[in-house]
Symmetry: C2
Subunit: 258 residues, 2 copies
């Protein structure tokens, strides 16, 4: 995807990177009816932050999002979607985040003219993965990296709280137009399993019969001639994503529930 | 909205603007079952272009989009929505667009190191207006400014064709989640009028009874106790947007057709 080795931007003069623009990643994690988001804790700052970084001049912004996620959290193979850009000229003027704090934290002599303190428009991306399958890790800059329930977020720096809210709004709109679930459900799953996924992501109740009818109508799932044994007298049918229809819908959209 | 007077970026050293980032506006125009997009024709270039520009360091990117639209086309009071960002490092390496051409065109001695030739990520916005109500005008850089049918676009420079396609895809998704029409229809309109608007924008047929039922259900239109006389024995009821519901849906979304 890219050939950049991990470097610490604090130790560079910034000339490798595009000026005035950065990326921030909202990495949502789903597992068993629970939706979380991945946050970093910069060592000497009281607030938490989204995993973010800068863009090399020879890479696309999408590849920067993927690289930053990998470098800062260890998460690989994530498929990011663009969200929004954040451009308030005062967006990074956070009282908790200043040169002195950063110097104390890192031990580097940065100075207030260091390029990372320049004005940056942030371009925000989101992705959705199964949080039970990944063990996030911190980096040179943030010792802690943890999953938080989206209903119980810690204090966040800059405009990162708004980014998470906006990404969730966009994810919810996308659920009506693009398929999800391929990496979040077992290869063969029951209707209650995929129904719970959608209810959790949308944070609302969906009539299960209507939901199933729509799912089958758009063709992203196929009903199998096979049942899951989950206890006495309970053996719901299993379903499976139709890979071709799913892939086509990912690229060209679909109209689920519509 | 902003206090910047119109200046010609070609005549500046770029220090007023953010580096490496620009805006491009996809201005859609609707009127009477027809959907168009506004394009500029840079004088000495064979291709057409979206109205775009640079971002002052003290403004937000949304305000830059609004200002650029006003400066370059004379269109005011447009409500822009964010689309996508375009970041291919080679995106502006268009054979039609080079220093010499630009110098010939403008009469300025720019030189190949002029800051406008730096790498720029473009942040793209779209808006939708009534094209019959506006007379677009060119600027210092582009003598022609015209509405084109989205089905009959001229050759476009850089990645502007992709921007229009993507903006249309995003507009179509937004139609299911945000209201449109306030500036595009008369204050009192018939069902055929609003139905044509949606069919034109979505480029597909919508069952008129189902469409009307959904519209009334989400509450963005109210049926009036008044008819429009459009000929012998034909007097359809008039409808009107419910301003409060419309405004709330603009801010918080809704689920039309869902």
């Amino acid at each position: 995807m890219n050939e950049h080795t991990i470097i610490n931007p604090l130790l560079t003069d910034g000339s490798l990177f595009l000026s005035n623009i950065s990326v921030d990643n909202v990495i949502f994690g789903y597992h068993d009816k629970s939706l979380k988001v991945l946050l970093l804790h910069p060592t000497a700052i009281k607030k938490w932050a989204l995993p973010g970084g800068y863009i090399y001049k020879d890479e696309t912004i999408e590849n920067a999002a993927i690289r930053v996620a990998k470098d800062r959290t260890g998460l690989d193979n994530l498929y990011f979607k663009q969200c929004k850009f954040y451009s308030d000229p005062n967006r990074t003027k956070d009282e908790e985040f200043n040169t002195q704090k950063l110097e104390d934290m890192t031990g580097y002599k940065l100075g207030k003219d260091h390029w990372i303190f320049n004005q940056h428009i942030s371009s925000c991306f989101y992705t959705l993965t199964d949080y039970s399958k990944v063990t996030p890790q911190g980096d040179y800059y943030a010792s802690e990296c943890l999953w938080f329930s989206i209903n119980d977020l810690p204090p966040l720096m800059f405009d990162h709280k708004k980014m998470i809210k906006d990404a969730l709004d966009i994810l919810r709109i996308h659920l009506y137009h693009f398929p999800v679930g391929y990496e979040l459900l077992p290869e063969k799953f029951t209707i209650p399993e995929i129904h719970s996924l959608y209810e959790t992501l949308l944070n609302k109740s969906l009539d299960v019969r209507n939901f199933t009818k729509k799912l089958l109508k758009v063709g992203i799932v196929d009903k199998l001639d096979e049942r899951k044994n989950i206890g006495a007298h309970r053996a719901p049918f299993l379903y499976k994503f139709n890979k071709d229809v799913y892939q086509d819908a990912l690229e060209n959209g679909m109209a689920l529930f519509i």
